[in-house]
């Protein structure tokens, strides 16, 4: 910035070199009065040095122009940029100049904008000459500035930009040429196209160059070696440069590297080809649609299944293989997806070539471009006829199994009741006093039966999770209320253990309140059962939102367990303790898992021996929360 401010100032400075007499002083004063900046240079060395820093005009007396001075000046002037035509005012001595003087002036003539003023001088002539010189100089600087701007712009475009004259010689190139060819602009300017780009490219370009020089705008694609010897794809365009009278003087050449773009397009074409051949081998029906839903491609399987032709199916023709009863809903939902860009999923029937409708699970996902706009849709239809039959059979088998478990455990309880009640009656009849061991035996019977009864009860609960409640999985459960119900049921044990139970507000989730209350009951029972003898049991229940789900945690300060057991404890009949340590059936957590999974939730636990346990239950939230 500073440099340019300086140079602007220098640009309007008049340098004076009049070593003999008072001319320098007079001129300096004169310019000062006319508000023209001037600077006196006592020697020609000083003058040349100052000129190198920028100058508006030079006033020099003829007598200062000896052979040595002219030589030095000429050297400085020759080094000027092409834009520069420095105003040089020579104050001559009156009368005819000598031969030597004329020669010296002739040497300077082509190097600057030379003006001769004959002395004696009128002051207004001098001032006027200086002003004219400075105006001309200001224009030159302006041209230079614009040229620099243009160069800056073109140098920063990743396109090879050049000006080529009628002789097919580079007149000007941008910096990109240096990056491409590894040659500096001055190494390129003046060379012919052919010598720079090489034979193959030139052969391809030559006809287009000819047309451009005939006045046509042309563009074409070709290949061009770069400095690393790589042959790259380029897009070339030539624009003719016409003079005012319409003659073509040369052309502007723009060469853009399109290798990457071409590679991308090739990769896209290849991947699309691969994709289509892959899509033709899958057993699903598959297709692609434009962003507006117009289907432009189906895989082979589609035609095999429907027995239709591409012409019948194109666009929205697929409707003819739909069940007319279901079609309106399909159309509604498909149009909604198209409007919103959301994926589509639905099961609907499609008619096969045999005329039979079979259920298909249809999934359609949007394929978005880099800006996120839906570019196309990709859809699959999966025949779930067989899957549906298997699922139905499985569901039936499960129902039967649960029914069996329910009935079996029910019928098991009856004989047990008999064993228990009659062992007691037996003891009552014989009288325990006759043999003290009888009471002990009766107790063993009773303990055994209690245990079987518990097992049966838990098995019943387990089978009831799906059995008793039918398919009521669509409801919502207030977990706060479920927890309160559970707390009422374990209240006696809470009192007995002098436990401290605290809880935060709990959300409403998808699920059945009664069953989720059972989960709480089981977790609370465990927390109380596996307490530390010497410590007040503390249980805290809380819930937090995580990734669209509610995660409820039940934390205790009990004996904990080895982390590697964390999965095992949820298995059927899996226990970590002997029965005399901590009695139980090994079903409690399996029941919890069964219930939670029924509502598409998960249950897991974290613990360390001696450091308490935390049980987590994640459940989908109710849609209203």
């Amino acid at each position: 910035m500073k440099e340019s401010a300086d140079s602007v100032e220098r640009d309007s400075v008049v340098l004076l070199h009049a070593p003999v007499g008072r001319d320098a002083k007079l001129l300096h004063d004169l310019f000062h009065r006319a508000r023209i900046h001037s600077q006196v240079c006592l020697t020609v060395e000083e003058l040349c040095r100052e000129m190198g820093h920028g100058v508006g005009a030079v006033f020099i007396t003829e007598e200062a122009l000896d052979a040595e001075s002219v030589h030095r000046l000429a050297t400085v002037l020759q080094e000027q940029g092409t834009w520069s035509d420095l105003p040089l005012v020579v104050l001559t001595v009156g009368g005819e100049p000598s031969e030597a003087s004329r020669k010296r002036l002739a040497r300077l003539e082509p190097l600057g904008d030379l003006t001769l003023l004959e002395r004696p001088l009128r002051s207004d002539t001098i001032v006027s000459a200086a002003r004219t010189a400075l105006r001309a100089r200001a224009k030159q600087y302006e041209v230079r500035r614009r040229d620099a701007e243009l160069q800056l712009v073109t140098d920063n475009v990743p396109v090879l930009i050049s000006y080529i004259d009628r002789a097919q010689v580079y007149r000007r190139v941008n910096q990109t040429y240096t990056r491409w060819f590894g040659l500096r602009p001055e190494q390129l300017v003046g060379r012919t196209i052919k010598s720079v780009v090489g034979e193959p490219h030139y052969t391809a370009a030559q006809p287009f160059i000819a047309r451009a020089l005939d006045g046509e705008h042309v563009s074409f694609e070709s290949q061009l070696w770069d400095k690393d010897g790589k042959l790259r794809d380029v897009a070339v365009s030539y624009a003719p440069d016409r003079s005012a009278d319409g003659d073509v003087r040369g052309l502007v050449s723009l060469v853009q590297d399109i290798t990457e773009r071409n590679n991308n397009e090739r990769a896209l074409r290849d991947s699309e080809r691969q994709f289509r051949s892959l899509a033709d081998t899958i057993p699903n029906l598959a297709w692609m649609a434009a962003a507006d839903g117009h289907i432009f491609w189906y895989n082979r399987r589609w035609y095999e299944y429907t027995g239709r032709t591409p012409e019948e199916m194109a666009g929205w023709g697929w409707q003819s293989v739909h069940d007319p009863q279901v079609l309106p809903e399909v159309l509604d939902r498909w149009r909604e997806s198209i409007a919103t860009g959301k994926p589509f999923e639905m099961v609907f029937p499609l008619r096969g070539s045999d005329g039979v409708f079979r259920p298909f699970l249809t999934r359609i996902v949007p394929v978005r471009d880099s800006s996120g706009t839906v570019a196309r849709w990709f859809g699959t239809n999966t025949d779930i006829d067989e899957q549906k039959r298997i699922e139905d059979a499985l569901r039936q088998a499960n129902r039967n199994l649960e029914e069996f478990a329910y009935v079996a455990s029910h019928d098991l309880q009856e004989p047990l009741r008999m064993v228990n009640v009659y062992s007691q009656l037996l003891l009552k009849r014989i009288g325990p006093e006759t043999n003290p061991q009888l009471q002990q035996y009766a107790d063993y019977i009773r303990t055994g039966i209690r245990r079987i009864e518990e097992l049966i009860r838990d098995l019943l609960t387990y089978s009831r999770v799906t059995h008793a409640n039918g398919d009521s999985v669509a409801g919502y459960a207030d977990l706060g209320s479920a927890l309160r119900q559970a707390l009422i049921r374990v209240d006696a044990r809470v009192q007995e253990n002098q436990a401290e139970v605290s809880f935060d507000p709990l959300p409403t989730v998808s699920g059945d309140e009664g069953q989720l209350s059972h989960v709480f009951q089981n977790l609370l029972s465990n927390a109380l059962k596996y307490r530390k003898r010497e410590e007040t049991p503390r249980i805290h229940i809380t819930a937090e939102r995580r990734d669209g789900e509610w995660v409820v945690s039940v934390r205790d300060n009990g004996i904990g367990f080895e982390p590697e057991q964390a999965e095992r404890i949820f298995g059927l009949f899996k226990r970590l303790h002997r029965d005399e340590e901590y009695p139980g059936t090994g079903l409690g957590l399996a029941i919890c898992k069964h219930i939670v999974e029924r509502y598409r939730g998960r249950i897991w636990a974290e613990s360390q021996p001696g450091a308490g346990s935390t049980f987590f239950v994640s459940l989908p939230g109710a849609p209203c929360d």
């Binding site: 309880q413 009856e414 047990l416 009741r417 008999m418 228990n420 009640v421 009659y422 007691q424 009656l425 009552k428 039966i449 009864e453």
Partner: protein, 141 residues
């Protein structure tokens, strides 16, 4: 009024029949007990009641009986001119709410769940005594 209480019991499990007897003995209830061992036998018995003098004062019905269940028997009793108002105790191992509700709805006076604890089972005698007293029936000492 010192005649024994006439009790009818429909029960297929002989063990339970004996426990019912034990509970009556435990609570010193003077009684005569008629037992039907399946649903059909019970139906025949009820249909055969022709005079009030031979009609039981109290019916103990198991729900889960072979050949005809306890509900059918209750229907039959409610339709019987002599038995329509006699108290019924459902004696069952079922703890299901639907059974409790249905029994109440059909007019059973009491619902007794067969316990696997002797002491609890013997409470049936107490229940019978209460019910008999409520209905002004003879229950002995």
């Amino acid at each position: 009024m010192t005649r024994p209480l006439r009790i009818f019991l429909a029960e297929d499990n002989p063990g339970d029949v004996e426990l019912v007897r034990e509970s009556l003995r435990e609570h010193h209830i003077e009684h005569t007990l008629s037992v039907a061992r399946d649903g059909r036998e019970a139906k025949r018995f009820i249909q055969g009641i022709e005079e009030d003098a031979s009609c039981p004062d109290l019916f103990l019905l198991d729900l889960n009986l072979p050949k005809a269940d306890g509900y059918e028997l209750m229907d039959l009793l409610r339709a019987h001119p002599l038995c329509a108002n006699k108290p019924v105790i459902v004696v069952t191992s079922s703890d299901a709410k639907k059974d409790r509700d249905r029994a109440a709805q059909m007019g059973a006076a009491r619902y007794f769940r067969k316990s696997s604890e002797l002491i609890e089972f013997l409470q049936l005698g107490l229940l019978i005594r209460e019910l008999a007293e409520e209905n002004g029936l003879p229950v002995g000492a």
